[in-house]
């Protein structure tokens, strides 16, 4: 359970929410997108209060975010291309524009050869890259990511971190949850330590 968690993330900032398993990192991210409801308190994203049932305003907020959060998995019955295209479909982009953006995203993440593959046939690293491609395909201003490098081999984890750093360098606001301190240092930016449901500011990571 999260208690008395208060923090603010400014545009272009990178914040790593750090804490052990079960400390509430995923819950916090899910609260931010309205997938779960807080009993008390207020949450604002882009000036919109995230509360209550899904409204068109909440839907618009969700569309402005890139999501790589637990509970938003790849759908096993859709191909890689279809999975990556889901946020574009949610944004009601015309089919032709969708195809173009999917192609660009797959190319950026080195997944051109996997477009018609199903998630069950992908390696762990490829799954993470598809999730990232899906999260960034709409070129969102904010990315919420949950354990982006967990269970990846060292090389793949480095690739993912490089992608996140590059996106942040281009202006992406980044909010990453992790249980490993390493990611905070790799990404740099502000650290928010979650422990026993409470949050405190940690020491900043090294400058990138």
């Amino acid at each position: 359970m999260l208690r008395g968690v208060t923090f603010r993330v400014d545009r272009g900032e990178a914040v790593v929410i750090e804490g052990p398993t079960g400390s509430g990192k995923t819950t916090l991210l899910r609260l931010l997108i309205g997938a779960e409801q807080a009993e008390r308190g207020q949450i604002f994203v882009n000036g919109v209060e995230i509360r209550g049932p899904a409204t068109p305003r909440l839907a618009a907020v969700r569309r402005s975010l890139g999501l790589m959060v637990q509970g938003i998995p790849l759908l096993s019955e859709l191909t890689v291309a279809d999975n990556v295209g889901l946020p574009l479909k949610a944004a009601r982009l015309p089919y032709r524009d969708r195809r173009l953006k999917i192609y660009e995203a797959l190319k950026t993440f080195g997944l051109e050869g996997r477009r018609d593959t199903y998630p069950g046939q992908l390696s762990g690293g490829e799954v993470q890259r598809v999730c990232l491609a899906r999260a960034l395909v709409t070129r969102p201003a904010v990315l919420l990511t949950d354990e982006p490098t967990t269970s990846l081999d060292e090389g793949t984890a480095k690739d993912v971190v490089d992608i996140l750093r590059e996106a942040h360098r281009r202006g992406l606001t980044l909010l990453a949850a992790t249980h490993t301190p390493t990611l905070a240092y790799q990404l740099g930016g502000r650290r928010l330590l979650l422990e026993d449901g409470q949050a405190r500011e940690g020491t900043a990571g090294p400058e990138r």
Binding site: I33, A35, P53, A54, P56, A59, A60, V61, R62, R63, S64, L65, L67, G71, I72, L75, E77, L78, L86, P87, K89, A90, A91, R92
Partner: protein, 286 residues
């Protein structure tokens, strides 16, 4: 959204079968009602004038009858014309009427009225009014026939509408079940799309449109099946029956509007069924 062609084909077929039954009911009811309406239109009021009625009296009665807006047509029958018609009908000559008096057939006026007045109440009202006119002996019409035809037309219309409506609701259920199955199969995708910011319209519109299209196609197939059955029936029956049957068949029609109505109805109930299914799944993925 993915779709299963065999499943969609099956639902179109099921919708077509139910719509064919519904359409068949309506077609029979509509034609039966129409034939009864035409029969009823043939029913006339006959105003008999008394023996002492002068030319002026007849003219005055005629004027009074024609002043009624409900009067569609009329025919004045003189004594001589009435006698001729009677003898023609009896296939006999004047010797049949010898000794029965001079004024055996009174002057009469046959009156046909507009459809709005072809009801027991309407006919009664006109008859009562005309009975009060000076020189009028009596006013008669097929009261019993008018009542029976009106009652039968009402029963046919109600039964046809009720059965057709029940069957049309069946189409909504068939298409709704299909939409429900499709929506539940894609529940994860729907939930995910909503988390990614899709509005209900974006998520459910394709399902509703597909439901309407499925119902509409079912209606088209049903119209084709009914049209084919109608054509076969008419081809088989032409020249088979006697004069009355042929006259009856001639009055039965398969109106082109019926095709449009079946397609429209199929699309509408298909859309409604899909909307209901979408609302139920929406609650599950909220």
């Amino acid at each position: 959204m993915r779709k299963s062609r065999p499943a969609t084909g099956g639902v179109i077929l099921a919708a077509a079968v139910v719509l064919t039954l519904a359409g068949g009911c309506w077609l029979v009811a509509w034609n039966a009602w129409n034939v009864m309406r035409l029969w009823r239109a043939e029913v006339k009021l006959v105003v008999y004038l008394n023996e002492t009625a002068t030319q002026d009296t007849v003219a005055a009665v005629r004027t009074a009858i024609l002043s009624e807006p409900a009067v569609r047509n009329h025919r004045l029958i003189s004594e001589a014309e009435a006698m001729t018609e009677f003898l023609q009908m009896m296939q006999s000559d004047r010797s049949l009427l010898e000794g029965l008096g001079d004024h055996l057939f009174p002057v009469s006026i046959e009156v046909w009225v507009e459809e709005s007045a072809q009801t027991p109440t309407g006919m009664d009202a006109l008859a009562s009014k005309w009975r009060q006119l000076p020189g009028v002996e009596s006013v008669r019409y097929g009261e019993a026939l008018v009542r029976e035809l009106s009652a039968a037309a009402r029963v046919v219309w109600i039964v046809g509408t009720v059965i057709g409506a029940v069957l049309a609701a069946g189409v909504a259920v068939v298409v709704g079940v299909m939409a429900n199955v499709a929506l539940r199969a894609q529940r994860d995708e729907i939930a995910l799309l909503k988390l990614l910011g899709a509005t209900d319209g974006i998520v459910f519109k394709p399902f509703i449109l597909r439901g309407a299209a499925t119902g509409g196609l079912g209606g088209l197939v049903a119209a084709a099946a009914l049209g084919g059955a109608w054509w076969a029936f008419r081809s088989r029956m032409t020249g088979v029956g006697d004069g009355i049957l042929n006259a009856w068949l001639d009055r039965m029609v398969f109106p082109p509007e019926f095709v449009v109505a079946l397609i429209g109805l199929g699309a509408m109930v298909g859309g409604v069924g899909s909307v209901i299914a979408a609302r139920r799944v929406n609650r599950l993925t909220a």
